[in-house]
């Protein structure tokens, strides 16, 4: 994995290794390499600019100038900057205590992985000792209710559904009643996939938000998403308001630049990653791992520390 980018950066600094003088050109060349690598990883162009500017500032400071190996030092700065952009500390769900009912609203584009992630989330909460309820509020996609029911059965978590329902708000209200009677402490609401530019569908989501007053509004986004990740996240955040992001399908070979775009644009923490189709394939988000992947550098920190 220590591929072209690391090589290019090392090349940019090669002639200055061990010297105390380092030219702007060295840094510019290295920055150009970073920029291209991030774009190829699908980081949005505007986000790339922001990231690169922040990196240059730091790279031109004392640390790189004085270091024995400026190339390695630069790589470390880029990596650390990436980790801080992605969110230094790991962020769990923020839910109310088990004596009251918390709600998690899952939202996102069609096919992003909402239904699957709802079940994954339920399994995780169940293992933590909570009592989750899956609520089938996608009344549009053929067999969406059935899909959620099958998954709920697999993980042995209750599911609330209403046969023939057409109003998701009404389903939610029914679910809340049921939850109260059955000692449920966490509601996980699966919703219909929708484009952020589909106004009527966005309004439906607003209504669902209003009535459920969720503790978490999680954008479920595909890690393979390209440049439009920024438009998607911005619109969902502005129109509905997000508390966090779940990134799915990280078991693909995508570099996953969407992670950086989503975080930078919304400022909302990346909370979980989906790494497969099974209910167990769900992990907390680790910024350092994803940083190395976006940069195509593997485990940079240990590389630099060894150097």
């Amino acid at each position: 994995m220590f591929d072209k980018l690391t090589q290019k950066i090392s090349d940019a600094f090669r002639f200055v290794s061990g010297k105390s003088s380092i030219t702007e050109k060295n840094i510019d060349d290295a920055v150009e390499a970073i920029k291209m690598a991030l774009l190829e990883a699908d980081v949005n162009l505007r986000v790339v600019r922001r990231f690169v500017n922040a990196t240059i500032e730091e790279a031109k400071g004392e640390k790189v100038l004085r270091s024995v190996d400026p190339g390695q030092q630069f790589i470390k700065i880029v990596h650390d900057k990436m980790v801080s952009f992605l969110g230094d500390a790991r962020q769990d769900l923020v839910l109310k205590g088990p004596d009251t009912i918390s709600a998690i609203l899952m939202l996102g584009l069609q096919g992003s992985g909402k239904t699957t992630s709802s079940a994954k989330m339920a399994l995780r909460l169940k293992k933590e000792g909570r009592k989750p309820l899956l609520i089938a509020c996608d009344l549009v996609r053929p067999a969406a209710v059935e899909q959620l029911s099958v998954l709920a059965h697999q993980i042995d978590v209750p599911v609330y559904k209403e046969e023939g329902a057409t109003d998701s708000v009404k389903v939610y209200k029914g679910a809340l009643d049921w939850a109260r009677k059955n000692l449920i402490d966490t509601l996980i609401i699966d919703t219909t996939g929708r484009l952020q530019i589909d106004e009527p569908m966005m309004q439906e989501l607003s209504r669902l938000k209003e009535v459920s007053n969720p503790d978490e509004l999680l954008l479920v986004a595909d890690a393979m998403t390209g440049q439009s990740a920024v438009d998607i996240a911005k619109a969902f955040d502005e129109k509905i308001g997000l508390t966090g992001v779940v990134l799915t399908k990280f078991d693909s070979d995508t570099r996953g630049g969407a992670a950086l775009s989503l975080k930078t644009i919304t400022g909302k923490p990346l909370k979980f990653v989906g790494v497969g189709e099974k209910p167990e394939d769900f992990e907390p988000f680790h910024p350092d791992r994803i940083a190395g992947r976006i940069l195509g550098m593997g485990d940079v920190v240990s590389l630099v520390e060894k150097a």
């Binding site: 992003s112 992985g113 067999a143 899909q147 530019i197 393979m224």
Partner: protein
């Protein structure tokens, strides 16, 4: 059509004269359209040269040249195999998870029936929760026969049965759905090869067409998907879904240029009618904001 086209239109602007800055801005727009960074720089340079050579100095003229260059890229793809024609046809849809295979299968069934064919849907996704139900609901709504087995069954056997049903006079075009699978998971790609072998041996005389379904919101990873699936089962073309999203679909140009893969259909919504044949000229013109 999109905000993107508007942006391109604006910045080329009628009567605007071309400067170096314009070409830099164009590079940005291309990158933001998922065109790929390296490709964007290259294309902007090509455009600059072409404008110089043809003595074009105004925005409108440059935009027309851009459309031509983009169309030329698309024409590097191999010729599409037409799904029309006599005898039995088998259309296999494949792709990663959630891109729109099942929905597209239903759209194709509806389209074929409208063209006087007798389609059969094969529920080749026996893996995902309720995938069979999903296809059956489409089949019911459309009045199209669905050949299905149990959840967990062998997808190759489902397609085999669908071919038998067709050969017994039950239909003349099979549209086979498959489970979403990551191109990186070799066991799942092997399963796809097995379906492939069954079809090849069971329906030797049929026209067998394999379409890779790609989601327009996918970034550069679409290329990796195409490359690996193409290597495994040699696909005939691509169906691009969710083109009604805010994504610009710039990756299509790389598919044509790097892998010679043509796009066959463009899907623009969740309704059955939201599918249309892909046209290179229109796509290039739309991308460059001419229409």
């Amino acid at each position: 059509m999109s905000v993107f086209s508007d942006k391109i239109k604006n910045f080329f602007g009628i009567g605007k004269t071309l400067s170096g800055e314009v070409f830099e801005d164009l590079t940005d727009l291309l990158v933001e359209g998922d065109f790929g960074a390296a490709g964007a720089y290259r294309l902007a340079d090509e455009l600059k040269d072409a404008c110089k050579k043809e003595k074009v100095a105004d925005g409108e003229g440059a935009r027309k040249i851009l459309a031509k260059l983009l169309e030329a890229m698309l024409l590097k793809a191999k010729k599409a195999v037409p799904p029309e024609g006599g005898g039995l046809a088998i259309i296999l849809l494949l792709g990663v998870n959630g891109v729109g295979k099942t929905t597209t299968a239903a759209k194709l069934a509806d389209k074929m029936r409208g063209e006087g064919k007798k389609p059969i849907l094969a529920a080749g996704d026996t893996f995902r929760a309720a995938a069979i139900d999903q296809l059956k609901i489409h089949g019911e709504r459309l009045g199209v026969r669905v050949v299905a087995h149990q959840h967990g069954g062998d997808p190759a056997a489902v397609v085999y049965d669908a071919v038998e049903a067709a050969q017994a006079g039950g239909g003349d075009v099979i549209i086979a759905d498959t489970a979403g699978r990551m191109h990186t998971k070799s066991a799942l790609v092997e399963e796809l090869k097995k379906i492939d072998r069954i079809v090849e041996s069971k329906a030797k005389d049929a026209r067998y067409i394999k379409y890779l379904v790609l989601d327009a919101t996918t970034g550069r990873n679409a290329l990796a998907q195409a490359e690996i699936f193409h290597q495994a089962v040699s696909i005939d073309g691509v169906i691009l879904t969710k083109f009604d999203s805010s994504a610009k679909g710039g990756v299509v140009f790389s598919l044509a240029e790097d892998l010679a893969l043509p796009v066959i259909f463009l899907c623009t919504g969740e309704k059955y009618g939201d599918i249309k044949p892909f046209d290179s000229k229109t796509y290039a013109e739309e991308f460059s904001g001419l229409v």
